[in-house]
Point group: C2
Chain length 109, copies 2
DNA sequence: CATCCTTATGTAATTAACTTAGGCATGGAT
DNA sequence: ATCCATGCCTAAGTTAATTACATAAGGATG
């Protein structure tokens, strides 16, 4: 399965922003959460995840901070910034708009 | 206008396959159709369209044939092949699966 | 204590699908 | 005579993925 893709291109930022909007999480936990909530449909690989986090941090939509997890290990926890919250709203609207449009096309008769 | 992308990456094949599944169309008309049905939300630029058509033709999911349009001009009409119809079903299922999964994540509380 | 699995973060090389920005040609309207 | 809409096409550049690594700490097992 080299191509049936486990993500819709361009939605990873949205998924990450949404996930940490509920509560700050470290990268590994974000990926696990997305997979779990999507019933293992969405697979967030490390090669996609970490570059995405750095991307978002550079945009100042999220902010990272090292602190220990519940199990006592150091991990980088990310939280949404105010700009990130605005960005999340934007991306939600954009997704709704475009995915609805796709829906119109694929259901046309 | 809307620079946050006028297409969801990876959905163009699906949109094209669906469009010509209803009736064979030439490239220009396919693009117009998708835009019109999506209420101008989806913008299919030529730089995306023609490579996509060639891609699909190479996969033998669509077959092209030159013939005149209603207005008397030559254009390349594409129709779905049998393999293309199977591919369309696959891509529809894939889209439903993934977009639903995105829905689960962005609506989680 | 050696080894292995899980957690956890990261990078590098490659690939695919886009965007942007053109070119070319024909037919109809002004 | 010129311009616009139709219609096909390509090339360069961008970006976000995939694939495949590297690294390290903690916990469990033999």
């Amino acid at each position: 399965m080299s191509r049936p893709s486990d993500l819709i291109q361009g939605t990873l930022d949205l998924l990450v922003l949404k996930t940490i909007s509920l509560e700050p999480q470290h990268g590994w936990a974000i990926a696990k959460r997305i997979q779990q909530v999507s019933h293992e449909v969405l697979q967030v690989t490390q090669g996609a995840l970490y570059p995405a986090l750095h991307r978002l941090e550079q945009q100042a939509w999220i902010a990272g901070e090292w602190r220990p997890t519940e199990t006592g290990r150091e991990a980088k926890f990310y939280r949404l910034t105010k700009a990130g919250r605005r960005q999340l709203e934007k991306e939600l609207a954009h997704w709704d708009r475009l995915s609805s449009a796709v829906g119109l096309v694929i259901r046309m008769v």
